[in-house]
């Protein structure tokens, strides 16, 4: 019976994994095929990889876009993690009636569709441009400022802090650690897996963000990767081999960050009692 259950678990996971991976397989294969073969749904690798890559890097400024996206994603991920985990921690550990109200109000901000606040937000940045042009329209900072401290991450950290043992805080206080000390020296190291998960999501969100950067970034030197990909598909005779190459390359950094963070998951597990 136990054996049967375990086989069922493997079958389930194998199927899930195959379904998850197949589109990636097709993406990578298409990177090596001509446009005509991509649209024809060819499933086998071809010989056009170099041609597609040459077209991509020759025709569009992929390097600049990769640089911009990396810069934005790294800075915003770091700041997001610091600011929102502090807030999530603050909301839970120093819980008070008034803070709960503030928190519930913050949650409301998650609920409005971005399409609805886009125009007012753009107008706001128009005004910011006049007093502080270095964070105004057409700056990389403007691309990530609105999504830097989202209620989503505050909510995420607050919920996870619920699993952080209160006794640890009390003990540290008795040890004479300052409140800030507790956060940086006790909380952060303990909550490694939570940070790892948040980092993956934050990086991904920033890396794939499209609608807002599209509007606020205008000059070609500020283009991020999703904006560049959006351009590729817009001609009357799109080169799908080249587009698939761009899509594949655009996916690599997020995969890389996942592998980087995944180590913490493993570490978190091996540190525990054997099952």
């Amino acid at each position: 019976m136990k054996r049967l259950k375990s086989i069922a678990a493997y079958v389930f996971l194998v199927i899930a994994a195959l379904i998850s991976i197949y589109p990636f397989f097709w993406m990578v294969v298409s990177m090596t095929n001509r446009s005509v073969d991509v649209t024809g749904g060819r499933q086998l690798p071809g010989t056009y990889l170099m041609e597609n890559l040459n077209n991509l890097f020759g025709q569009v400024d992929m390097v600049t876009a990769l640089g911009n996206s990396t810069l934005v994603a790294v800075i915003s991920t770091l700041l997001t993690m610091l600011l929102t985990s502090l807030a999530g921690y603050g909301f839970h550990v120093y819980r008070s009636r008034r803070k709960d109200i503030v928190f519930n109000v913050l949650l409301l901000s998650m609920m409005i569709p971005f399409a609805a606040i886009m125009i007012p937000l753009y107008r706001l940045f128009g005004r910011i441009s006049q007093v502080a042009p270095w964070i105004g329209i057409d700056t990389l900072a403007a691309a990530f400022l609105p999504t830097l401290t989202t209620a989503f991450f505050i909510f995420f950290f607050r919920q996870n802090t619920g699993m952080f043992p209160e006794e640890l805080i009390e003990a540290s206080r008795l040890d004479g650690l300052s409140e800030t000390g507790i956060f940086f020296r006790i909380y952060i190291p303990t909550m490694k897996t939570t940070y790892a998960a948040a980092a993956i999501i934050a990086f991904m969100n920033s890396w794939n963000n499209f609608l807002w950067p599209l509007i606020v970034l205008q000059s070609p030197a500020k283009k991020t990767v999703p904006l560049l990909i959006s351009n590729l598909g817009s001609s009357y005779a799109p080169d799908y081999g080249m587009i698939m190459s761009a899509i594949t390359i655009a996916t690599l950094p997020t995969v890389f960050v996942f592998f980087l963070m995944q180590k913490h998951f493993v570490a978190g597990m091996t540190g525990s009692v054997k099952g």
Partner: protein, 436 residues
Amino acid sequence: MKKRLFIAILLLTMLLPACSGKKTETNADAGSAKGDGAGTGAGTTVTAWAWDPNFNIRALELAEEAYKGEIAVNLEIVENAQSDIVQRLNTALSSGTPKGLPNIVLIEDYRAQSFLKSYPDAFYPLTGHIDADDFANYKIEATSHDGEVYGLPFDTGVTGLYVRVDYLEAAGLTVGDMTNVTWQEYIAIGKQVKEATGKQMLSLNPNDFNFVRMMVQSAGQWYFEEDGSTPNLEHNEALKEIFRVYKAMLDADIVKLNSDWSQFVAAFNSGDVATVPTGNWITPSVKAEASQAGQWRVVSLPRLQTEGGLNVSNLGGSSWYVLNQDGKEAAAAFLADTFGSNVDFYNTLLADVGAIGTYKPGIAGDAFDQSDDFFGGQKIYSDFTSWMADIPAVNYGIHTYAIDDILKVEMQKYLKGEDLDTVMASAQAQAEMQLR
């Protein structure tokens, strides 16, 4: 409380330069990158937005080479997807923050009236810079507002029917049998071709109304009355006939359905369909499959059997607009000197990018008289320009895409068996209620 606020503001101000500090580096990068391309002259910098590097962006580059005007101009071309341009223009213009907008922008003709009416002072009239009579009549109709011409026409969307000679021959037919036909005759031929070759006649996307728009203009009609805002659906005989034709084609089983552009292109590249009725801008995509060289011809579009039904139409096409901000004179002068009056330039445009302009003096040059071996030596461009002269001018109005979406739903109902008059009445009612 004050102290807390102070600390917060302090922290915020500390944070912001930290972000911008990093940013300055990229600014410097950007500056040097720009320096390579644009550092040549002391002229006015004119920014232009367009979307296809092989087509309209290439055209701008050629225009820059051809430009010989008095005002020195540094043209800076920015590539943006068409939908992205629409979105950026709308956001910036509606928020009253035009910072970062270009001087010249390419806008699809179907959307032109919407922009001109929504943002009345945002565009700079070109009336004094070009002679409207030099351009195809239907183009000027699409780009004018309140008696002023705002758009400088770029390309025509003159349509044709691309046909596979080999498939026709297999069914015992000739290209002549497909010339100047009605859609009913087209469907009959489609059945013959299918019987002989097993190939479908054409590929259609039920969620893309290009096909409907193309047919409705061929009858000199549109979704609106002549004012461009009163919906004309319920009693639009041309539109009803289109619905009937559409259904008849599906019933005859001669349609290969597709759900996006790439599948549409794949359908003829892979030889699955015998004809492609669409705008001339599809030519490069047809020629992309070199193995089919010599098998294709272009004949006139089938016509609707309604009053005023013609064998010509237009599908798509776009025009250049100048934004009403600093640099508008230079931008207008640049356009007027190139797209607005340079006859040789139109030859280069066709020879180099395959774009057919609508500037009448410009479309008579040598390049238009070339025969093309891919099309069995046919002089396709002189055919296209001769059809272009007959395209009926219609007012595209301001709600073309909104009506498209209303009609798509009604089309589905009609195909499922609802009565044609009922669905058209329903479309009319919705349009009247939603679009004011």
